[in-house]
């Protein structure tokens, strides 16, 4: 690529052709403030509407100020990022934005993590020129099982819209109304629950302010923990341990499994279990289902639906229920690990400890906001009692720990409780895109071929590429695997299958960029996608360090089948561990 030279703040810089002023400035250590702009480098996500006008700079020879995020450098360009004209414009525009923003920062769910708050602090805004009775734009509040919308706090950065439309291809959110009342909302300002929202929460993950937040269940958890009549147990998803440390100032990618367990125990949970156990169980069921379908297919049964699609991701389930109602029999019928855990906890475990399911409270800690919705689905309740009572995000767990006077950094490492706390490396990698299918391959290969795997790491299934595929040799049988993360990529893959472009046997789909490690319940990445990469590396590190790395080798899983379920896909397993899907297409 050609290089061009330009001058920024009296210093010459050479950049690749096509570089924006914003990027060029970054390269030379000039950090131009911005609000709406967001780029997730290794995920190919970019939001660049040029709407906030905070990143404006002066370009010599240009009549007005230029938005540096969307102005491409030209040879010989002379740019000034910090002149009186720029400072005045930037502050005035920020004051305008603040003038139409609630001032309840102290009690805002985003307090301390708000990019608008940071910007106001950074630019040193101390007062806002205001007109008496100046209008503020207010909107109806909206709550769903997973997400909350308080659009009074919307700054029209359009990041949520980019995620919902461009990345996820869901299209639940778009700008509505004109002028001062313009805001991002579902069509006709419907409630989210009435829209085709999948509750993936990627809008929440990128919202710079408190406009989009998760439903906070921490209060309910505290109440349950303090209730002497309840036995409260907790399960933690694989991606949580790779990100929780960030909330306590630790480097992204720091694994805090042991500290997390210790903290949960100190919070008062009666048993600290691991969703990873259920992930191993998922592999047993889903892997067996794959082998079953594959076997029947190879025997010439044309009614068999292939490829089999994973069903662990609740946002993905919502997505195909809304968008592919004709394909409801294609995904695996296996419940997600969260729900498998709940079903086993409130049957097998409850029986084991002699507690009525109504007195057993199952809490899940998830990197995900769609899980809040999932655990409220009617099919996951017995007589109105949910298998999983409450789901909280990684962020909510951090907030619980902080509020319970626990000094997280000084905690010792502790181990999960038995029996639902034991897991293999295969379960850990569920947290990263490609991980579920890699875990499934590890087990399916050995069950199908009856041979031990020479190598456990399937690097061809890993990475951050949006759509990936690989063929795994099952002892002479080539098994074609497809992987997609983000729902937009899922749609591409599914449409490709419909069009007969692909010939896959199994496909893994995760709604969030990077998989669960990039989930909407994780600590905010604030547009820095290296954070997601670091979490991914941590997940694979944890796997590599595990003694057992194949789900079918988990001794407690083996015991569960022996004592309770019989074998994979048994009638009992079907009853407890499998589900069905609904046509939600309007």
């Amino acid at each position: 690529m050609d290089k061009i030279k330009l001058t920024i703040d009296n210093r010459e810089v050479e950049v690749e052709n096509g570089t924006t002023i914003f990027q060029a400035a970054r390269q030379m250590g000039i950090d131009i403030p911005a609000l709406c702009y967001m780029k997730l480098d290794n995920l190919g996500v970019e939001n660049r509407p040029g709407g906030c006008r905070i990143c404006v700079v002066e370009v010599e020879g240009r009549r007005n100020l230029a938005p540096s995020c969307s102005t491409v450098c030209t040879p010989g360009m002379v740019v000034h990022t910090h002149t009186m004209r720029v400072i005045n414009a930037r502050r005035t525009v920020l004051e305008l934005i603040l003038s139409d923003h609630p001032k309840d920062c102290l009690i805002c769910p985003k307090n301390g993590r708000c990019e608008l708050q940071d910007l106001a602090a950074r630019l040193g805004i101390r007062e806002i020129h205001s007109v008496e009775n100046a209008a503020v734009s207010t909107y109806k509040k909206d709550t769903s099982p997973s997400l909350k919308r308080d659009m009074d706090k919307c700054v029209m950065c359009r990041r949520c819209e980019t995620m919902c439309n461009d990345v996820q291809s869901v299209g639940a959110l778009s700008a509505v109304n004109r002028g001062f009342m313009a805001v991002v909302a579902p069509a006709f300002e419907q409630r989210l629950v009435d829209s085709n929202c999948t509750f993936c929460g990627q809008c929440v993950a990128v919202c710079p302010t408190g406009a989009l937040t998760e439903v906070d269940n921490t209060g309910k958890i505290i109440q349950a923990l303090m209730d002497p009549t309840k036995k409260v147990i907790v399960q933690t998803a694989p991606a949580v341990r790779a990100a929780l440390g960030e909330e306590f100032g630790m480097e992204p990618g720091t694994l805090v499994t042991g500290k997390m367990v210790a903290a949960l125990r100190r919070l008062g949970f009666d048993e600290v279990f691991d969703t990873d156990f259920a992930a191993d169980l998922t592999i047993m069921e889903e892997g067996s289902e794959l082998l079953d379908r594959l076997g029947r297919y190879l025997q010439g049964d044309k009614s068999v639906k292939l490829p089999i699609l994973t069903s662990c991701c609740p946002a993905w389930v919502n997505f195909f229920e809304h968008n592919y109602p004709d394909m409801l029999d294609v995904p695996s019928s296996a419940k997600s690990p969260q729900q498998m855990f709940g079903a086993i906890a409130k049957s097998y475990f409850a029986e084991k400890i002699g507690v009525d399911r109504k007195d057993l409270v199952v809490v899940s800690v998830m990197p995900c906001l769609a899980k809040k919705y999932e655990c409220q689905r009617d099919e996951f309740k017995v007589d109105g009692n949910p298998d999983v009572d409450y789901s909280i995000s990684t962020r909510e767990l951090a907030s619980l720990i902080k509020s319970a006077n626990i000094d997280f950094l000084s905690l010792p490492d502790e181990d999960f409780d038995a029996p639902l706390g034991e897991s293999t490396g295969a379960a850990v990698i569920f947290g990263a895109t490609g991980g579920v299918i890699e875990a499934a391959v590890r087990t399916a290969y050995e069950l199908y071929t009856g041979k031990k795997l020479d190598r456990i790491d399937f690097n061809e299934l890993r990475g951050l590429e949006g759509i990936r595929h690989a063929t795994i040799d099952f002892n002479g049988l080539p098994v074609n695997i497809g992987i997609a993360h983000t729902l937009g990529n899922a749609r591409k893959l599914l449409d490709g299958i419909r069009a007969g472009m692909y010939n896959f046997h199994a496909i893994e789909i995760m709604a969030c960029p990077g998989g669960c490690i990039g989930g909407a319940g994780q600590p905010f990445h604030h547009g820095d996608s290296s954070v997601i990469k670091a979490r991914m590396d941590a997940i694979y590190r944890e796997d590599a360090g595990k003694a057992l790395r194949k789900s079918h080798e988990n001794p407690y899983i083996i015991k569960l089948y022996e004592e309770f379920l019989g074998k994979p896909l048994s009638e009992k397993a079907h009853h407890l561990l499998h589900t069905h899907y609904f046509d939600k297409h309007d």
Binding site: V56, L96, H129, A135, M156
Partner: protein
């Protein structure tokens, strides 16, 4: 085809139709039939004559008699007197306001004398629903000519003419075409911007209603030049007559092989589709227009990329407005040199203006670039209504600036208007007199831009709202001098930072009125007084004791009980209680109530 000896041209533009011109046509036809002259005399429904103030217009050909303010009941007299007996109906002729003499031929009227009609050349002359009439006036000859040469030659011609975009931006049209033609891509689009949104402006509508074929011909020429086979007209759905006439013209052009697969046997393929706009002002901005056509939210995006590179569906797209296109055929017929000989150094040709406000001759006019505001307002516009004093003229639509007496001798062109703090815009021209309050005027325009902002960028979405609020505060007598400083700073920042042309110009009415009518702002702020007595909150009603007869009419009319006084004694208004409704002023028969 009958050979008519006489034609009665009746305006079928939207304005005259609103004044029953359809009924006039019916009545004229009935009377002609009754006189047994249907084979000799025809009634032609034309587009707008421009002189809307005097409409409905009926023009008699061949003697060029120009009847004004015609009513359906006048049809009988026009036919019986003029058509049958050859005697003009004097009472329907235009009366010169200066000499009080009747003028029969429009070319002797002040309104038309200084005009030069290029874009409007066929308006009022032809039946827009009959392509033959357009062809009879050299229609489609330019296209035929262009198709015989290369696209590059035709682009050179447009470049040489010096034509600049008439939609407001003033970008050189030939250069725009050249960029689109050089832009790589097999599929390209020609878009006609007919999303005319300036309040009071109706030149594009008028052209489409009066001469739709000129736009179709020009779009085909443009398509040939840039290598597009598809044209799209983005038109407001509120222009049903323009849509209907455009559809008729497109069908007729297709029937004649002037649109379609093999135009005039040249092998060139071009056709046009209509896309409807829902009436969002910002959709006049070309990127917003394109997004609206794509079915997306009508909001602008950052340029570059320009539509010439990535426009409709991501394909190279050339967007020109109706008036720009209407100029094109003439440039090829009369030559670019001829066109370039009209106008000023950097602004060639003519410009159509919609003349409105406190002016005698409201209507649609077309003048050579370089005509002064004075000529437009006084010679063509006939001066200020009611003999009042000229105060300001607002050019360029809602985002234009207000120019004053000192600008009257400024020759109108793109650069002069911009230098004076206003702009050409699409050609709105609203004249104000001494009764207009300039703070209120600025507030009015801000209300418009606040309503029409798409809300995408912060300065326009929030900034304009704040400008409006401060202006409102000032008109209520609550403003401070600090507000005035902030108003100026905020206006400058909005201009400097807004994403698209709407926000970049919306503070113009504020800045230009502060620049030109600073004292009026100060009067509102410091003296709590509106010099034009327009701002209700600042009006002070009083009763002149010398004139008051004590009739009590005002006291009885006052809804606030603010007027006290004994019968036959002078009354007094309690200003604290007064709600400034003006009821007393209306009731008083002795002119005793005064307003300050």
């Amino acid at each position: 085809m009958p050979n008519y000896k006489m034609s009665l041209l009746c305006c079928g533009g939207t304005g005259c139709r609103a004044s029953e011109s359809v009924r006039i046509v019916e009545r004229l036809r009935e009377e002609i039939a009754a006189a047994g002259m249907d084979n000799d005399v025809q009634v032609v429904v034309t587009g707008c004559f421009g002189f809307c103030e005097q409409g409905p217009i009926v023009k008699v050909i061949p003697d060029n008699t120009f009847y004004t303010n015609v009513k359906p009941e006048d049809a009988e007299e026009i036919v019986k007197e003029h058509v049958v007996k050859g005697r003009k109906v004097t009472r329907l002729l235009y009366e010169d306001p200066d000499t009080q003499k009747h003028i029969s031929d429009s070319k002797h009227m002040g309104f038309y004398q200084k005009q030069l009609r290029i874009a409007l050349r066929n308006c009022g002359f032809i039946n827009p629903e009959n392509i033959d009439e357009y062809i009879a006036r050299d229609g489609y000859e330019a296209l035929a000519k262009v198709l015989q040469g290369t696209p590059q030659e035709a682009i050179e011609t447009v470049k040489k003419s010096g034509l600049r975009g008439r939609g407001g931006g003033g970008f050189p049209t030939g250069l725009k075409w050249e960029i689109a033609s050089k832009s790589p891509g097999k599929e390209k689009y020609v878009v006609c911007n007919a999303d005319e949104g300036d309040p009071g402006a109706f030149m594009d509508r008028s052209i489409l209603e009066s001469d739709p074929n000129s736009v179709i011909e020009a779009m085909a020429i443009c398509g040939y030049c840039i290598g597009a086979s598809k044209g799209l007209v983005y038109i407001r759905a509120e222009y049903p007559l323009a849509v209907k006439r455009l559809q008729i013209a497109m069908k007729q052009a297709r029937d004649y092989g002037l649109l379609g697969d093999d135009i005039l046997g040249s092998g060139f393929k071009f056709d046009i589709e209509i896309r409807y706009g829902a009436g969002a002002f910002v959709c006049g901005e070309e990127t917003a227009l394109i997004h609206s056509m794509e079915g997306k939210r009508g909001e602008p995006t950052v340029k570059p990329p320009f539509p010439a590179v990535s426009g409709y569906l991501g394909k190279p797209t050339n967007v020109n407005n109706v008036e720009t296109f209407a100029n094109i055929p003439v440039i090829f017929l009369k030559g670019p040199e001829w066109f370039a000989s009209i106008g000023t150094e950097k602004s060639k040709g003519t410009k159509v203006f919609a003349l409105a406000g406190k002016i005698n001759n409201v209507g649609l006019i077309e003048v050579p670039m370089g005509t002064t505001l004075r000529e437009v307002i006084y010679d063509i516009g006939g001066g200020i209504k009611g003999g009042k004093e000229f105060k300001a003229v607002q050019t360029g639509g809602p985002s234009g600036g207000c120019l004053t007496k000192k600008h009257l001798d400024t020759p109108i062109d793109y650069d002069n208007l911009t230098a004076a703090g206003s702009m050409m815009g699409s050609g709105g021209m609203i004249v104000m007199d001494e009764d207009d309050c300039m703070v209120s005027v600025a507030k009015f325009y801000l209300q418009f831009t606040v309503d029409e902002s798409c809300g995408k960028c912060a300065p326009c979405r929030i900034g304009n709202k704040r400008l409006e609020e401060i202006l409102d505060k000032i008109t209520k007598g609550k403003g401070t001098m600090e507000d005035l400083d902030y108003l100026k700073n905020l206006s400058k920042v909005i201009k400097d930072t807004a994403l698209c042309g709407l926000g970049q110009t919306s503070p113009n009415p504020v800045l230009s009125t502060i620049d030109n009518f600073y004292d009026e702002y100060v009067a509102h702020i410091v003296d709590k007084r509106c010099p034009a007595h327009k701002c209700r909150a600042l009006r002070v009603y009083a009763i002149d004791p010398d004139r008051c007869k004590g009739c009590t009419a005002c006291a009885r009319a006052c809804p606030a009980g603010a007027i006290k006084g004994e019968v036959k004694q002078a009354h007094v208004i309690d200003t604290e209680k007064c709600i400034r409704c003006g009821a007393c002023l209306e009731k008083c028969k002795f002119n005793a109530v005064t307003v300050q």
